[in-house]
Symmetry: C2
Subunit: 294 residues, 2 copies
């Protein structure tokens, strides 16, 4: 083992959360900076880490789309994104060069999935899907200890749920797909449609059942596709009182008692709460230090 601390970066579209720790569970410090243009943001992050002492490795969990293929010359880059200036940003390369340490790189949700699988709601399970429902909807899956990558990486928010009968007017919010899941049920979609957050709407407002219905379809599709043992639902929208229970109940109805061993399947809140992402970056750093891909 090298001397020094593990560094972690949660690279989000509105903020970067930086952290250092002795291990994924022993965090020394954390610091949040706003996401501005890449050169400024990365320099600010670098400066903060430089004040924290020696680093042995860095883990980055980033907003996407990102390049995860270690064989690609674009590994560690953000790919074409609507976010101005960030397309083609070499996030991993910047920190590799700045600190000359191994860097682990993943999607934001894959980082959180790692944390919940190893240290949170998924401990002991064979597979886990972590979904965040916030400014967007995204999901990452671990099967038998390994993150599912595939040709690129999952973009779970962009499945098309069936519209709830009678709910046909709102065209949806996604610039690519209109009324895909993200277009119907992410935070900004809810705000655009009803003018407030879901938590602010009265308990008997139709929004609760509609959003729960769309997210339950997602859980049903995840289970039908992968039989995922544990689905962890995180992100701001999921904090709406009562929402998780509604989703669990609707998903149960959609399954109609059909699925084998459904009793082993659970839909849960993140055991690590808001620390899932941050913990995941330190797990990525630890894996990079061991020379592993997660």
């Amino acid at each position: 083992m090298s001397e020094g601390l593990l560094g972690g970066i949660e690279a989000g579209g509105t903020k970067f959360v930086l952290t250092v720790g002795e291990s994924p569970t022993r965090v020394h410090a954390a610091h949040t900076i706003p996401t501005r243009e890449p050169s400024q943001t990365l320099a600010e992050a670098r400066e903060w880490f430089e004040g924290q002492g020696n680093l042995s490795a860095i883990g980055i969990a980033s907003f996407g789309p990102v390049e995860l293929d270690p064989a690609s010359p674009k590994w560690g880059h953000i790919l074409k994104t609507p976010k101005p200036h960030w397309s083609d940003c070499d996030l991993a390369g910047y920190f590799q060069q700045a600190f000359s340490v191994p860097v682990g790189f993943e999607t934001d949700v894959n980082g959180a999935a790692l944390a919940e699988y190893h240290l949170g709601a998924g401990r002991g399970a064979s597979s886990l899907t972590y979904v965040t429902v916030g400014t967007g909807i995204g999901g990452g899956t671990i099967v038998d200890g390994r993150l599912v990558h595939g040709a690129g990486h999952p973009e779970l928010g962009h499945i098309y749920p069936r519209r709830v009968p009678g709910d046909d007017e709102f065209p949806g919010f996604c610039p690519f797909h209109g009324d895909c899941l993200e277009g119907l049920a992410c935070g900004p979609a809810i705000h655009t449609r009803w003018g407030s957050t879901l938590s602010e709407l009265p308990e008997d407002h139709e929004a609760h059942e509609l959003v729960a219905g769309y997210l339950a379809q997602m859980c049903h599709s995840i289970y039908a596709s992968m039989a995922t043992e544990i689905i962890v639902l995180g992100g701001g929208v999921i904090k709406t009182p009562g929402l998780l229970d509604r989703i669990v109940n609707r998903a149960e109805e959609l399954g109609a008692g059909y699925f084998p061993r459904r009793q082993n399947h659970k839909i849960l809140p993140p055991a690590l709460g808001d620390r899932a992402g941050l913990t995941g970056t330190l797990l990525l750093a630890e894996a990079a230090l061991r020379g592993e891909q997660s």
Copy 2:
């Protein structure tokens, strides 16, 4: 290596396909028997294998639902099935006892997925989903060489596609879910609805676009959930001339150019054709002989 041949059993709801070979690609003989009651069917299979010489291992790929958890006392059993007499049948145990050899056991589609991944359309790919569209719809996925099991096993046919606009009258065919994917697009659903197979309907019959639209949604969901590099579509319905191209085109439209590295993703027919299932059973036997789970 033990002396003797590998044996394979594709256990289907209407027929059992039995095979023996030196290796998954060197098949000596194959034989089909109708699926009757368990005791009769299994005895017939045993008798055929006894006439083929010494067996070193047997691989079984079965209709489901099945128990795949090696830690369960019900491993190798068919679980509760609407098919009369087959619930709780100890398929793997019967052949383990009859031949005193290692037995590998999987779902039918997982067996075919193994074959296409190792020896067919998925060679060199990081992940593959094999889907059969026939008397039912089912799918199995391999990621980085390992089959995805989860809490039970995937039941991909039972996702709910969005109804194509205007196509609201047919209630669907699935006894559990009505108009889930299998309820709308499997062979018997097509026959119930239009009175013939899809191949028999004229090229410009609406059925082609409807079925393609529903199966394209499945491909879209698979890609959004798992970013699967190769989707192999097999089964009788897929043999309809022109159907695969329609599915590929509709799936491309649904993606709307959004997904990262979509160019690495392909939707293909089985490279092994109708031999995918049979080849898979011999791969399962080979893995059992090595003492591995697939």
